[in-house]
Amino acid sequence: METDQTRLLDALPGMVWTARPDGTCDFVNRHWRAYTGLTLEQATSAGWTSLFHPDDVATAMAAWERTLGEILPEEINVVARMRRFDGVYRRFNLQTRPLRDAAGKLVGWCGANTDIEDRTRAEAQLAAEKQLLELVARGLPQSRVLNELCLLVEALSPGSVCSILYVDEDGQRFRVGAGPNLPAEYNAALDGLKIDPGYGPCSLAVVSRSTIIAADPPRDPRWASSSWPQLLTGFGLASCWSAPIFDSQNAVLGIFAIYKHLPQGPTDQDEELVDRFARIAGIAIERARSDIALKAGEAKLRQANHFLTGGQRLSKTGSFSLDTATDEQVWSDENFRIWEFDPGVPPTMEMVAAAIHPEDRAEMLETFASATRAREGFEVFYRIVTPIGGVKHLHTRMEIIPDASGRVMYLGSSQDVTEGKLAEAALMASEAGLRRANRYLAGAQRLSKTGSFTWDVATDDQDWSEELHRIWEMGPEDDRAVPTLHASVVHPEDVESVEAIMAPALEAGADYEVSYRIITPSGATKHLHTVNERLSEITDRLVYVGATQDLTASRRAEEALRTSEAQLRRANRYLKAAQTLSRIGSFTWDVETDELDWSDENYRIWEVDPAVTPTVAMVIGAIHPDDLDRVNAVLEEGRRSGRDFDVVYRIVTSSGVVKHLYSIGARIPEITDHIVYIGSHQDVTQSKLAEAALRASEADAMRANRYLKGAQALSRIGSFTWDVEADAQDWSDENFRIWEFDPSSAPTMPKVLDVIHPEDVSAAGQAIAEGRRSGQDFEISYRIVTKSGAVKHLHTIASRVPEISERLVYIGSTQDVTATKLAEAELARANTYLLAAQRLSQTGSFTWDVHADEHNWSEVNYRVFGFEPGTKVTMDMMMKGIHPDDLAGVEALIGGAQIGENFELVFRVINTDGGIRYAHVVGHRIDQIPDRPVFMGALQDITARKLAEDDLNRAREDLAHVARITALSTLTASIAHEVSQPLAGIITNSSTCLRMLAADPPDVAGALATAQRNLRDGNRASEVIKRLRSLYGRRPPTFETVDLQEIATEVLALLASELQRRRVIVRTEFRAGAPTVSADRVQLQQVILNLALNAADAMSEVTDRVRELSVGTEHGPEGEVSLVVRDSGHGFDPEGADKLFQAFHTTKPNGMGIGLSISRSIIEAHGGRLKAAPNDGGPGATFTFSIPCDPPSVASATSRSA
């Protein structure tokens, strides 16, 4: 029975024992014995408490004794650690029950020990992990988390001392992450230690990516040659287990190590512990790294800000960053200066908004708000009012800074463009004034084709205007008697009709008009139209004043019409084109039905919809009210008599424009039963205006033409006669209009003087009095104030009527020159403004008579050259001051100027005091001096701007250099490979060579061949170094002739090994015969290097297709050469193309995000463009840059490199 029970208990999987009522153990089962390694006897003799962990004995004993003391003992439950046969303690739940017989008497004890070690340990680990992950999540500093981790593991695994080392950023050295209980000296020895698998287990763990156990280092062959075991034991440590710490990408971040004071290996639990906590350390380190990267990004931003400060001061540009979520703004010093804010007070949006000019504020804030909503950058011009009340014009650009947290952060710059704005405004104003004045002058100078005359019929005395002489091609000395003219100049066919009109008019002393042709002395046939009016003041005899207009141009069209009367339609078609050109429209008019038929040009002239059928009523309705009666009379006469007619009149078109038309109507002779006219309308507005303007300036012509009402109205010239003694004045209609006098009451001198401007009245009165006294002709300019309150500038010319000798009678004209005066005043104002602008913008003006070498300079020009103001300058003096590098450009300018070409150039001057000034000169030839080139121009001193640009360019170069070095640093391994290859050849060859020479007999030929190979390989290595040296070096940009294909090939050679390592296949597609470009070789190589490395990076994850990098050249249609870099990588979102080029935008963990931004600025400095596009119909992206292949001219090269 007892045996059966024993067997049964032995078979139980747990540890079971029994004891007598007094607690003396009388049985332990097989598991118990196996675990403890003791027999019942051994256990009893040692005392069972000896199996317990010393720390747990007291608790267990207390529970046991308490139970024994009870009368009816119950089950006991105690947790205690028990020693295993190998000395290891494990935690057990000791369950002990009293055994009773049927009567309830205590007959013994039975105990079962349950091993809860694993569970307890797991629970403790879980608790520790949870605690650590919470610390990580709370964003505690890495060192704190790692320290905590070590302490927790040390608590979980008594007797352990923990250490965490992480791998430095360069991947070469260890840094101590934590080691709270390791001796400080030992930690110090590990910090900065080079990773070397032969040194110790931590290095080996990193390299082998597996856990390394160094149970007894001094006897371990792996560290036989290392000083580490000695270091270790020197600190009383005996073993070290080291596990690699991986990040989420499975890269090794560092190691987690446990040290022991005794030489020993880890238990399974220890290993598990190490692995688990290495993982947690990985999470902690990775989190901390990303925090650091974030901070570094911010620091970079701050640094970039700092970097910009220098350039900013010079260019009056301030910069700032703005976190829209917190309104946290960081301003550069210059920004504070621009806004005139106290740098000690942090700026807020509220302060900024308050300083914006009230007129710009709402719009500015709206722009800002909508940009913030849309998360995009913007650019805005606006004004601010500084604390002391000054107004500044600012130009602000803001760009979004990519931010992982989703905040909208801006980086921005503000430039003070006040000076530029003022100069701009001044220039605009003065330019407008100049343009206006020019237009006026141009109009005045245009020749009218109207001549005027007076004709005393009885004496045949004629007084011709210059233009009339020109028309008739006759001089004052020629015989111009009317009979002579009729006999020899007037076209024979027309003499009769002219005389038919003249004779009855002369007979009646009436006004008349006549159209006729003349044949001039040069043989030209001209069509003239003469209007004659009798001078009403002269009653005792017949004196006409008249005007003759040369209508040849329009008559010619008419004539063409007449000669082809039979083929009317064809003529009409033929005329169409001519009409459009000469602004002549044609029409037919059936008098009986009043039907009109218009040509296209006619519709255009009258501004009538071509779909509309024109009517006579419509035509009448468009005619200017002042001309209506006259036109009606002409039409009525035509309707009645069927005679040809022509008339000059004004129309007002539907768009409100007033046009002057010259209309001719001729009866169609083939239609005899009723009257049908064919005719033309010519738009003569322009020549009319010109004519009017001319009259304003030609006093001679005016004197003879006073009574031509139509012309007067056009030229705003009124005419008058003035019988001085009687103060009898006879005014033309236009004169009444000018003075705004009532035509029904007679004007008198007191009335006239009454409206003359008070400031001018005495001068005008004096001139009139002088005229009255002497009878001399006079001419005065003055202002009047009309009854409508308008101030008008008038110009009056009066001359005595010579025919009236017995008393003083003046005839004269008064012109309203208000528009001219205003234009002049405006020009004067503009000039003043221009001077101010010139001072502000450091601009001087000059005139230059090229052939005479005469220069008229303003002060700035003298200052630029360093000449004493007022000195007479010569071209020789100037040329001595021109910078030698710019001489060619200046000489080219002079060459062009000699043949009258306008110029613009930026050049340098070596001032007489030795300083270099930059000048920007613009010259325009003065049209008014046609016989030789004389220029008027401006010269701006742009030295300050150039120097600021230089500084900025230098800063850009610095940045580009840093970027280049950064890019190259990623190639270190490949470059070592590139150099090692030929070196391997060289060393091997040298060995071979030596052996060949030492052989008996020496193999000289073989030795020569090997030596030759050495030479080749040496050159190859030196080529690599040379290429690198130029890329690493820094020097100012130098433009030279560059073959894109050649430099791309060089870059690819440098990259060959790196690309091979990354399993990238390179394909080149160089188009033969691509032209060279003028460029900076190193900068372009930097761009190509950058694009190729980006392409390789973009393909690093590609495993399902070929990683192909294609580099090619293309020759564009506009003479540009392109370099195309195409990859088969992950590509990019088409909408993100612009973002790619933003500074600090990066998709790479180690990227600075400036490569593409710098590449683009390099290409743009070459006058080219850099674009990115996702590949069509395939994965990957294509980056292309194009550069114009025309070599830049001297001038632009100067401005670019300066």
Partner: protein, 123 residues
């Protein structure tokens, strides 16, 4: 075994392909050079190759890949790896797979001659 005394040099770099066979020849080894792993596999020489001097990094099949391919074809030959690119991971891997040596370019005369001699001695 007597016919397996050929030393085959596989390297895409011309300098090595020219210089190394000359040196080894001067020590009395019979050598053959190939510019790629593929060329070596296509030749009949691997049957007689006793020592393969193999570059790690080559376009197309790499040195370690050739090592694996030979193992797959169950062709045993001693391999001496040479490389211009120090990489402890690769070194560990190829040595574990039974490579005889792993030499970093540029290597000394003694190093390569020793490695080849040892390899042929074992073959």
């Amino acid at each position: 075994m007597s016919q397996r005394n050929l030393v085959s040099v596989v390297d895409d770099d011309e300098s090595v392909r020219e210089s190394l066979p000359d040196l080894l020849t001067s020590y009395g080894f019979v050598t053959r050079a190939f510019d790629s792993a593929e060329a070596f596999l296509e030749s009949d020489d691997f049957a007689s190759t006793g020592c393969l001097v193999l570059d790690v990094s080559m376009p197309g099949m790499t040195g370690p890949e050739l090592q694996i391919e030979l193992a797959r074809r169950q062709i045993a030959m001693g391999i001496v790896f040479i490389t211009a690119h120090a990489d402890a991971t690769v070194e560990t891997q190829v040595l574990k797979r039974g490579a005889m040596a792993f030499l970093l370019k540029p290597f000394t005369e003694a190093a390569i001659v020793d490695a080849v001699t040892t390899t042929l001695g074992k073959a």
